[in-house]
Amino acid sequence: MQILQLKETVSFMKYRKFAMIFSALLMMAAVYSLAVNKLNFGLDFTGGTLIEVGFEEAADLQKLRQLMEDNNHEDAKVQFYGSSRDVVIRLGLRGDVKAEMLGNEILAILEEGTHQKVDMRRIEFVGASVGDELAEQGGLAMLTALICILVYVAFRFEWRFAVGSVVALFHDVLLTLGLFSFLKLEFDLTVLAAILAVIGYSLNDTIVVSDRIRENFRKIRDTSAEEIINMSLTQTLSRTIITSITTLLVLAALFWKGGTLIHGFATALLFGVFVGTYSSIYVASLVALGLGISREDLIPEVIEKEGEEQEEMMP
């Protein structure tokens, strides 16, 4: 079976102006949304208390809110979580001496106020300092990852590809963050992990394309860089699409069946795979082209016979 049987080379680069404008607009929109809406940081980053409880029958949110208010928890946010029997109550940071006891206190209030056995599903408490450290660590992790990848790609390929792939990654991360701020989705630790996975995925795509570009530069002479890139993108297109399909399939399974806890994770990855696929086609190769990639850059110093490099890599 075949999805795409391309006889002709698709001139991807002909549309590079559109792609550039499109990406630039999206990136600006993301920056704008981040500036205006900010990110809806989850408990992991902001600190505070969250308690998820299960009731035997559908819960009456109004009553629960009243209950919270009567017990001096005016700041409590009470919401359904996944079903009408599951309720999540969030409380901000407290200066109380016993802030970490808040969850247990709320549980007691609920049991008393509703006169039924409440099923404690989870309690999460995060202190203020932890959130700050986490934000710092998360940012640091992203940066470290980007730098290590930059170095590796520069070492294996060429600096123009490295810059291209890192710009593509930056583009993907920014857009994913933008989506989260635009839709006001909660940004927690699992989403951060998902974004790092997006980095991994998008890079995987970019490298496959770069690899093909390098191979074609070495194989084919007297063709413009633009044409080489078009050819390479065309040759790798069906693979790119198939891999996206299988990955999106499993992510859809996670999104629908993985439960509320990893909803954010699946959302970030679903979007990230889309963006990552697009950026591996347009962003990375555009940057490399813009920086003036040419055949001379990719000819190894020693002319090697085909397949030698692979043998070196063989264990």
Binding site: V97, I123, A193, L196
Partner: protein
Amino acid sequence: MLNKYPLWKTLMVALIVALGALYATPNLYGEDPAVQVSGLRGVEANLTTLDTIKGQLTENNIEYASVVLEDGQILTRFRNTEDQLKARDVLDDSLGDEYSVALNLTPATPDWLASIGGTPMKLGLDLSGGVSFLMEVNMQEAINKAKVGMVGDFRGDLLNEKIRYRSVKDEGDVITVKFRKIEDLEQGLSLLKKRYNELLFNSDDDTLTLTAQMTEAKLKEIQEYALQQNITIIRNRVNELGVAEPLVQRQGKKHIVIELPGVQDTAKAKEILNATATIEFRLVDTEGDLSAALNGRIPPSSILLTDKNGQPTLLNKRIMLTGDHITDATSGFDEYSRPQVNISLDSAGGSKMSNGTKSNIGKPMATVFIEYKPTERRDPEGNIIFEKVQEVISVATIQARLGKTFRITGSGSQAEAHNLALLLRAGALIAPITIVEERTVGPTLGAENVQLGFQAILIGFGLVFLFMAIYYRAFGLVANVALLANLVLIVGIMSLIPGATLTLPGMAGIVLTVGMAVDANVLIFERIREEIREGKTIQQAIHQGYEAAFSTIIDANITTLIAALILFAVGTGPVKGFAVTLSIGIITSMFTSVIASRTIVNSIWGGKRLEKLSI
């Protein structure tokens, strides 16, 4: 001959996958309900304990499957949870408070598997239920305590050597000693320099002062010690809670992670973990004027403290004994059935106590309970500021010269006596510590998460299987076999690595690996199709497809692996779980999709004359 692996290579691949499968099997056996008995406070469960347990169970007609003594712990397995619960209650009553009795679920791995190191995967708290805490040690307080000790030591040294000084003061960064004469300064300086080589000394002849400052190495050492000591104390406290398989581990420079699987009543756990308490014994100042002190005229050698009812007492400033000499504390009743706390001291503490009490028989001695409670304030570095709460918990008349063991009565109710003994037993904390993060997962949510994770994996797998089989026909089936081998290897390796735990995000990592692992095969198969279109022979196309795609696959995977390893290094909890499965998944998928799939392809199609290929 193209596309033929030598036999040894084929066998090796088969062996690796078989080993993976072998070590993945313990996960299929489920768990037995069990009761775990471990000794507390230096007591080790031994063969005598084992016999006691067997005797008790037989006496109460409780059936058990096996009783095993291992590393000072006794594990009794049962056939059902009913027997398990009954046994726990019986043992709890009969063994007394020298042992902790905890419910446990033990892997039902068959002996032959266990003997070759086969264990099931450890489930994270989000799957098994339980609570995890992150605690922060207050390092500033640890350093302050060390400085206070130093001031006392300086004074003692100078007095012993008969060197006269005006004052010894802790002035924040430095400790300053002022002298009256230049000779004293010189003598003092040479004495202290000799004794404390971990300090930096400076002296100023004009003002007749010398200053001492801690070196970076010394500061580091103090913090390290504070962390280690806290870990030890917390371990003891956790053991007192009677939790099966708790985990207490340091994280970074000032944090400690505590995981208590299966614990639902977190309130008690928190109270016990959080109470940073120590105790001091001081003589009551009977000469001082209490009413004058209440009006703010406290004698310089005394302090004014209250008990929990607000009753004030004037105490000697000099501490007779600090709590860090306490080696053990138990609660019980005295002859009048009043709750009491029995305290044992180490030898240094014993001699201090005996010196302090010998000339004060008949005088009242107060026991002061000191707790560091976190406030909402923070210092400029963002560390929590603690407030020192001191409370007189008992005033008792010294009946005789006290030694290494003595008792305190009149400390309130039996429950209070019991709690106090528990706190004292856990030792005196060098630096106060607070819970800065808590995650509790109830058992229902845990079970639900396991179900959801498995569902997602199954559905994800099913979809990919279907797609590959339709799209690549026979070769798609090869990719699917490789994918299955991949899953088996991930589970096998996760079970083998002692520190690896499976979490819900970890399951998501497996799902993601599945989706991405196919990529390598897609690359190869697309390449083979390309080569066939270019008119190469089938065997050449297969060979070329695998060869050309290889370096691309390596490059693409190594970069993803970089991202995963960084996640692993900086991540904690759920993120770490995701990073673990992702890293393992990337490594195994490189093996299965390139080497294992090639092995299958070679043994089916390799070296034959083929006109067509099902791809």
